[in-house]
Amino acid sequence: MYVAVKGGERAIENAHAWLAEERRGDTDIAELSIAQIREQLSLAVNRVMAEGSLYDPDLAALAIKQARGDLIEAIFLIRAYRTTLPRFGASEPVDTGAMACDRRISATFKDLPGGQVLGPTFDYTHRLLDFKLAADGDVPEAPSRETAADCVPHVTGFLNREGLIEEAPYDDAPPPDLTREPLEMPAERALRLQALTRADEGFTLGLAYSTQRGYARNHAFVGELRIGAVPVEMDIPELGFAVEIGEVTLTECETVNQFKGSKTEPPQFTRGYGLVFGQTERKAISMALVDRALRWEELGEDNVGAPAQDAEFVLYHADNIQATGFLEHIKLPHYVDFQSELELVRKLRREAGAQQVQEAAE
């Protein structure tokens, strides 16, 4: 006997209670603190800040804790919180030239002003599980020294002096904001960069990788990759000048791309650009490669039909909060649509069956 299903409300409440219990796990094990996540899972925190478009390590750590370590879920929590925040204004553009670099490498010049600074990188670690970490996490103190230069010039600036790299003309126009205006095509570069900087890391990485494997290959050199803190300044109308209100850590990647020239542009190096919150190296490099691929039109290159050249494809599918929401919505009830499909398939099968019977009789 069928009884109309009631009690969805209670089922939801109970599911949430169970979820909270599962999130906590075995209560004999000490609970994670926000500070522990912020300090010891800082790259996860950085990713959540970058794709959540909100620079707040404590909130990102809280989101990671609440999301049980599911970073896309944590990004979602941050995005949903972010939209409720009032906007007091916009900062001055940050000057990455004034960055206090923790890391700064160039793959195009062996040495250069400011030097090569490896910084805290996984790059040359041997990926061997460190069983010592399972026992105790004590680390010897890393040696340190005073930084040599207070201002580290951009590598592309040196190329620019020779005119070997395309100009990046100064542009004072306020950039568009896809969190305030609907994303519409065609999207100018500033808007594409905004979409890419908060795009899903995996999606961006996959697209960037596809360009390396020949789907719109643009042979990128990492002209420079730098990671460090930059001051954020804001113009305070009452004061009449900009004051520093804090600092953010950024990863910036500038690629120098081979370019043999086109109908409209001379042979020169071209640029790809990545700028992402936090220490997010993989994402920043990926962003630069995808940015460069998307610039085919303004550089007069051919559209070879590669996914990474297709701004509509890239920008409409790069946001993991949109993607995961729509993907997972197919879990929701679709009884009604499915019922209409059932009726249709039954009808089509009946007709196909009748036709076969008739053909057999003929």
Partner: protein
């Protein structure tokens, strides 16, 4: 954060959404881009409908939410609770008592009246999307009223299957101008779209589009003279209330695969049962 603005969204955002709604009402069937906000529920789960509801709700409103016609499906419960919490509005399951009804995939069986607002959750607002994936192209096609592709698709259906093989999200033409996606309602519901006394608003959050049908708008389901549109449903009466005019869900009720058909509109079904109509699976004599 403990305090939210009425109906969650800030007033600036609501104003922006209302402007999009008004534009949509002024150009029936036209998809108005709007700066959809990230909501505290996932994209694809009704964020467009929720934003439209948030923008039209007033403290005096009575709110009803249905998903698949039912008030008690989990996501309907979740959205209703959201507005109880953030707007403090009265909620109801009775169609005629509601001033704003948010729906996913159904139009209530009971005809709506003037003064009511029906808010649809829309996953893919673009009726041409699966014929042409590019937004830049489809917007051009709408502005040029270039709907040949859609007619070709429907014609191909007929040549393959003998009839149009679209059973839900069946495209309509609004006031002889815009081809519109009615959201994934079964085509059984399509005839209710036109000449409706209530205001119909469609919100697609992820796709950042709002469109609308003002009261008594002409809405025609696309068809051909020799293959007229036909609203279809399972050819059974409801097992619970015996209704023969309602859209039915099919349930599997035993291990042998036994079937039963029940109204998808739970309010309609319960009201009929309360009035003494009983279907054949409910000990009733209204059995067909």
């Amino acid at each position: 954060m403990t305090e939210y603005n009425f109906a969650y969204l800030d007033e600036q955002t609501k104003r922006m959404i209302r402007r999009a709604i008004l534009k949509g009402l002024a150009i029936p069937g036209y998809q108005v881009p709007f700066a959809s906000r990230e909501m505290p529920m996932p994209y694809g789960w009704g964020t467009g409908g929720v934003q439209v509801s948030a923008a039209v709700l007033t403290p005096e409103d009575t709110f009803k939410v249905i998903d698949q016609g039912a008030d008690d499906t989990t996501n309907a419960v979740s959205i209703r609770t959201f507005f109880e919490r953030t707007a403090g509005v009265n909620t109801t399951t009775t169609t005629s008592d509601a001033s704003v009804i948010q729906t996913r995939h159904r139009i209530p069986e009971e005809p709506l009246s003037a003064g009511q607002i029906l808010v649809y959750q829309v996953p893919i607002p673009e009726p041409l999307r699966f014929l042409e994936p590019r937004e830049s192209e489809t917007r051009k096609m709408h502005s040029l009223e270039e709907y040949g592709l859609m007619h070709v698709k429907l014609y191909e259906d007929i040549s393959h299957h003998g009839h149009i093989a679209t059973s839900y999200a069946y495209p309509v033409k609004v006031e002889g101008r815009y081809v519109m996606d009615p959201s994934p309602i079964p085509k059984f519901d399509n005839p209710k779209l036109g000449d409706m006394a209530a205001v119909q608003l469609f919100g697609a959050g992820r796709e950042q589009r709002i469109y609308a049908l003002p009261p008594y708008t002409q809405v025609v389901s696309l068809d051909f003279d020799d293959h007229p549109f036909e609203a279809s449903k399972a050819g059974h009466p409801c097992g619970m209330c015996g209704a023969i005019d309602s859209y039915l869900d099919e349930l599997i009720i035993d291990d042998a695969g036994g079937r039963m058909f029940v109204c998808s509109d739970t309010d309609y079904c319960e009201a009929r049962q309360a009035a003494g109509h009983m279907g054949k699976d409910n000990g009733g004599k209204d059995a067909a």
